[in-house]
Each structure stands twice: as structure tokens, then as C-alpha cells.
């Protein structure tokens, strides 16, 4: 039985996303995350929304019910905008929740042709960043979280 639950939030456009290079769909990624979760003993709550307000709401209201947060903010990682501010505020509001947070991106957001120019979650916190591994960005994040939770439980 899984004893920790991980909230995975996916930002705008990911549900419809069709990778021309044949990359995984969000449904594929969800399946891979669920399988990895099962392997690691982690329950996975996998969500997507095109609405930044909904993502912010999920962070503020549901983060505390989970052991860790993985977020793919997609385009909201772009330079400071009101919308980005909303996500950052949501993270700050819920920062009292001491738990691993990992920002993930499918592609390397720093490639010259990337449409995403700045990591979003540059707030004052211990947020990790994984980009460019495709679906494996999520799987690596889950491996990392499992380790951190296991260490936290023994220390």
C-alpha cells in the first residue's frame, strides 16, 4: 500500500499536446508516472489544467494533502507576468508546507529555440528543476522524491 501521495500538476496546453517528433502524449506520461509510483510505493494524483487560476487553487488548497509536488508549468514559466505571479504567490502562500517541490519540463527550456525562456519557480524555497528528459523528467522527479521522503522518514 502506498503511504505517500504525490501531486503532479500540468499546465496549459499539455492535454492537447501532440509532439511532432513522436514524443509521449500527456496520457502516456500519466501512465508512466502511475507505473513508476506503483513501483516506488507512491500514490500519484495527476492533474492538468489550462487555467492558471485552477493550478494556483490546486497548489493552495490541495498541496498540504500530499507529500510532494511536481509541476510542469509549461508556458507560465515565461518571464514575469501576472499569471506567473499567481503561481509564485500560490507556492509562497503554501510554503509552510515543508515538502519536496520539483519543476519539470519535457524539453530543455534553455535551448535557443525554446519558447519557454525562464524557469517559473524562482521563489525562495528548495525547488528543484529537471528539464529535457521527456517523460523521464517526471520519472526522475519521482525517483528523487521517493529518496527524499525515505531519508526524511529515517532522519
Amino acid at each position: 500500500m502506498p503511504n505517500s501521495s504525490i501531486l503532479i500538476l500540468n499546465g496549459p496546453g499539455l492535454r492537447e499536446r501532440r509532439d511532432p517528433s513522436g514524443g509521449p502524449s500527456l496520457a502516456d506520461i500519466e501512465q508512466q508516472c502511475l507505473a513508476k509510483g506503483e513501483q516506488l510505493g507512491l500514490a500519484i494524483d495527476f492533474r492538468q489544467s489550462d487555467e492558471i487560476t485552477e493550478l494556483a487553487r490546486l497548489i493552495v488548497h490541495e498541496r498540504s494533502q500530499h507529500s510532494a509536488l511536481i509541476i510542469n508549468p509549461v508556458s507560465y514559466a515565461d518571464a514575469p507576468t501576472t499569471d506567473t505571479g499567481l503561481l509564485v504567490q500560490a507556492l509562497q502562500l503554501s510554503a509552510a508546507v515543508d515538502q519536496p517541490v520539483i519543476e519539470v519540463h519535457l524539453r530543455n527550456t534553455f535551448l535557443p529555440d525554446s519558447t519557454i525562456k525562464h524557469p517559473l519557480l524562482a521563489v525562495d524555497s528548495h525547488i528543484a528543476f529537471i528539464a529535457g528528459l521527456g517523460a523521464h523528467s517526471y520519472l526522475l522527479a519521482l525517483n528523487a522524491i521517493q529518496q527524499q521522503l525515505a531519508q526524511g522518514a529515517t532522519s
Binding site: 534553455f110 524562482a122 529535457g132
Partner: protein, 147 residues
């Protein structure tokens, strides 16, 4: 399959330098664990460290053709070295940029990376565990990788 883990300046001080940021493990501890994990996955891990920019460039050049992937923690040269950027661009194997802390959460002078745009992937902020996590994911990632 050969893998280089290349470490830049000051990483030889790991375990003693600002452990609240970088942790208490020494680089030798991490090397041992990475090589053991590599063996498990059929990867021959060469674990390298230098404080000298040119030596890092030499190693990246040497990797060409015989090394399937580089995991590079270029340390502070990340934010200054066009030479490392150019060497990485010339290297056609798989490249993961690695950082123990997340540079984007630190001083503004660490926000620009010359390594990121020349890498396939970026892993930052997972502590020293990031090394093993990166090596652990390599076999699957390399399976689907072609330049």
C-alpha cells in the same frame, strides 16, 4: 557503454565547503556510488574533477566518439565559460547539465548558464543525489537518443 561525470572548480571541496548548501558527502563518496550504480546498469563511469577550465574542455573533447554521455557539473564555469559551451556543442553524445543546488534560486550571477543551451537536459537542486539519479536514468534515455 562509457559515461563521463565531469566536475568543475571547487567540487573537490565537497563535504567541507558550505555543507548547508552542498551537503556532507565528499566527491569521493559520490564517485564510489556512481561507479557502483553504473556497473549495475552496464555503464563504465569515469568520474573526473578539475579546477581548470582548459582541462574540462580537454575531457569533453576526449569524450568525442568513445563516450555515450556526459554528466557535467561545471561549477562556477557554468556561468562564465564560452569555451565549455563550444566544446559541448562539438560533442555529439548525450549531455546532462547537473547542479547540486538550483542556481536559479541563488545569486543573480548564477542565473545565466552557458552550459544549458549546449546540453540535452538540465537537472538541478536534487542535492548530491542528483548524480546517481542522473546516471540511473541514462540507460533508458540513451535508448531513445539519437543526434
Amino acid at each position: 557503454m562509457n559515461v563521463y561525470v565531469i566536475n568543475g572548480p571547487n567540487l573537490n571541496l565537497l563535504g567541507t565547503r558550505e555543507p548547508e548548501i552542498y551537503g556532507y558527502d565528499t566527491l569521493a563518496d559520490i564517485e564510489k556510488r556512481c561507479q557502483a550504480l553504473g556497473r549495475k546498469h552496464g555503464l563504465d563511469v569515469a568520474f573526473l574533477q578539475s579546477n581548470h577550465e582548459g582541462t574540462l574542455v580537454d575531457w569533453i573533447q576526449q569524450a568525442m566518439g568513445s563516450v555515450a554521455a556526459i554528466v557535467l557539473n561545471a561549477g562556477a564555469y557554468t556561468h562564465t565559460s564560452v569555451a565549455i559551451h563550444d566544446a559541448l556543442r562539438a560533442y555529439t553524445g548525450y549531455k546532462i547539465e547537473l547542479h547540486i543546488s538550483n542556481p536559479h534560486l541563488r545569486e543573480p550571477f548564477r542565473h545565466l548558464s552557458y552550459v544549458s543551451p549546449a546540453s540535452d537536459a538540465v537537472v538541478a537542486g536534487l542535492g548530491v543525489a542528483g548524480y546517481e539519479l542522473a546516471i540511473g536514468i541514462l540507460p533508458e534515455v540513451l535508448e531513445n537518443f539519437q543526434h
